[in-house]
Amino acid sequence: MSLVEVTDLTVEFGTLRAVDGLSFSLAEGGALALVGESGSGKSTVAGALLGLHHGTGARTGGSVRVAGTDVQAATERELRRLRGARAAMVFQDPLSSLDPYYAIGDQIAEVYRVHTRASRRAARARAVEVLDRVGIPDAARRARSRPHEFSGGMRQRALIAMALACAPDLLIADEPTTALDVTVQAQILDLLHTLRTETGMGLLLVTHDVGVAAESVEEVLVMRHGRAVEHGPVGTVLAAPRAAYTRELLDAVPRVDTRRTGSPATDEIVLEATGLRREFGRGKRAFAAVDDVSLTVRRGETVGVVGESGSGKTTLGRMLVGLLAPTAGTIRYAGAAHTGVNPAVQMVFQDPVSSLNPRRSVGESIADPLRARGEKDEERIRGRVTELLERVGLEGAHHDRYPHEFSGGQRQRIGIARALAADPRVLVCDEPVSALDVTTQAQVVELLGELQRELGLALVFIAHDLAVVRQVSDRLAVMHGGRVVEYGPADEVYDSPREEYTRRLLAAVPALDPELAARRRAARGEPAAA
């Protein structure tokens, strides 16, 4: 009997059909990945396996059996016995998925005691045991820490530890590495792999990242609009996709070995930063987020900046556009020293949600730089905004709509249009695509490239995703701990990294080839603490 048996599952929220006639099964000890872009319904499926849609107003149809329990027909009590004990779920965002007010060990113990009759003391001991198992150093002490005192990777480990507490037959991991840096992501995936081989539990992985799937599972199910598009062994699906959508998806995935093509770079220096330093805090708590960074940006070229969380890359970007004043160092624009904001240096922000004022129509937002410049002629403003909207691939008629009416990719286009309205010569893009689905990512990257060629823009492309950065960059700066550790032509840095840190970073990028992934994992060995 298989561990998971899903037959003709449908889930509807109001008029919205999130999952539409999905069927699959997972054998005991097997590993299956549900892969899809946002809105594909993959997480809804994960929730349905534990009956999490019960009592929420969602309508579910079809049948779901997990570890012998008929989830659709089960009572609340039976469901509670299934959840955590037979099938445990690891959520995406480890910070918000843990109660901020309680010690991590206590939270794990609480879960353990729900399913066993263990004493408080025994439950605590179990918590320390599983924390130790997932590689938390000094687990007995760290069990008393609260979630915010853990790093992102450690929190994810703690969540996995919670899942392990009752030794479940099935582990459901919903985007378990999405919020993590690549090196940490690799460690977590390795951990999952090891645990699976040791305990023999089944794994259902939900992810948008084909690379992550390739690293972790034997079988993959590609989803789109709530339906299965393609289902098969991971090697086969990735190497020889049958469905057109799968191919599209795979094509869109940026590869770390894709070189930059057709650069319009020139020698004219437009932006030059020298010895930039920025401190935060005062007194003993002061620290330098950015320390002694120098960069030059030429007309038409793209300078990539990569780094993991806390490397200082966003701070650098904000200094370059004048939103933050450097503590030390100078920024010269077109040869002249410059402080404060400058219309010619614009920014594209990471989060397409927070970068547009939800209460103003997109046309109004785009018109801001025009009005700020003193333009009063409403007709000309409207004309220019329409022109910009069309230029970034939207319709002029979108002028009067509000941000929430657009998808993430469209909003990022709007952000770009607003930046262009100021007629900039430099565009600093801070993680411009990291919040987007891969297919959308590719389109936005393409748009930026076009604009650069057309307008001779200089781009500073800040991202954590090494593959994306490689695609677009002429030169590359690798940041670590506020400093630029390696700086040079992009191909040089990628092909023959001089720094150990750069090498580690590159080695952690998930490969699309399961066999390559297995080899790399073997090379990394059992993970150290995140």
Binding site: A85, A88, M89, S97, D99, Y102, Q107, V114
Partner: protein, 332 residues
Amino acid sequence: MSGFGGFLLRRAVGTVITLLAVSVIVYVVFYATPGNVAQITCGPRCSPEQVHQVAERLRLDDPLSVRYWHFLQGLFVGQDFSTGTSVEHCAAPCLGESYQTGRQVLDIILGKLPVSLSLVVGAMVLWLLLGVGTGVLSAWRRGRISERALTAVTLAGTATPVFVIGLVLMIVVCGELQLLPFPQYVNFTDDPEQWAWNLLLPWLSLALIEAATFARLTRSAMLETLAEDHVRTFRAYGVGERAIVVRHALRGAFAPVIALNANNVGSAIGGAVLAETLFGLPGIGQELVHAVAVVDLPVVVGMVLVISFFVVLANAVADVLYAVADRRVVLA
């Protein structure tokens, strides 16, 4: 823990500045208040000469700045007062001497403070219990009859001035049903049981005013927490609804409740003025209203400063509690 020490120091300095600003405002405002202080002190049938003597004794003819300067001197150095037969020293911090009775303001305050503290602190406990309890119940049993009834009661409390609630409660509970004694202040140290028994009604009247706000806040904070990811985690691990509500959702409501509580100390003191007046509790509020009526400036300034001090203190304590309740918050 230098961070905490620094926090205390900054708060202390801020408090002193705030209180001095309050005292200046009170001085200026009451300087402008109508009422011939010397005549009031002396009595209505005093001759102009007598009134003049009183004014001279109390330095009422000095300009505002000089009087304020004397006040500051008293505060930081101390002052001497004549009782007629002898000289009495009022050590710093000396808040001066009542125009009306000649008693030292600090003594007056210290005599009344236990009453007001008993009233406000007790009421606070009660409104927290009542408000948070209602909030929990209404978050848990959304839309049921019990929730709506409780909500209506707390809202009715907010909508009705304390002197109306207090009087009606007193007539019904003490007069007609004779469940409680008519409130009369008993020192806690004399008889704790009678103390609580007598104050129960004033506490309840004050608590009913504030409880609804806390009920709303608790409910919304709990529902907000219930919608959060970590609650989903525990649901997905088979933790029962009751444990989730009590352990996790209620815990999430602590910090905002603490913050609101500090915020409401000020308005509670306002309510206490009315409650003390109505129930005849010899507290600061009652005395203050009287002092305002007779323009007894030293008493007014002293009492306002004490009240302001407690408001500021309540906010500081709330900040500390907030940081304790939510370790992610840094004191600054």
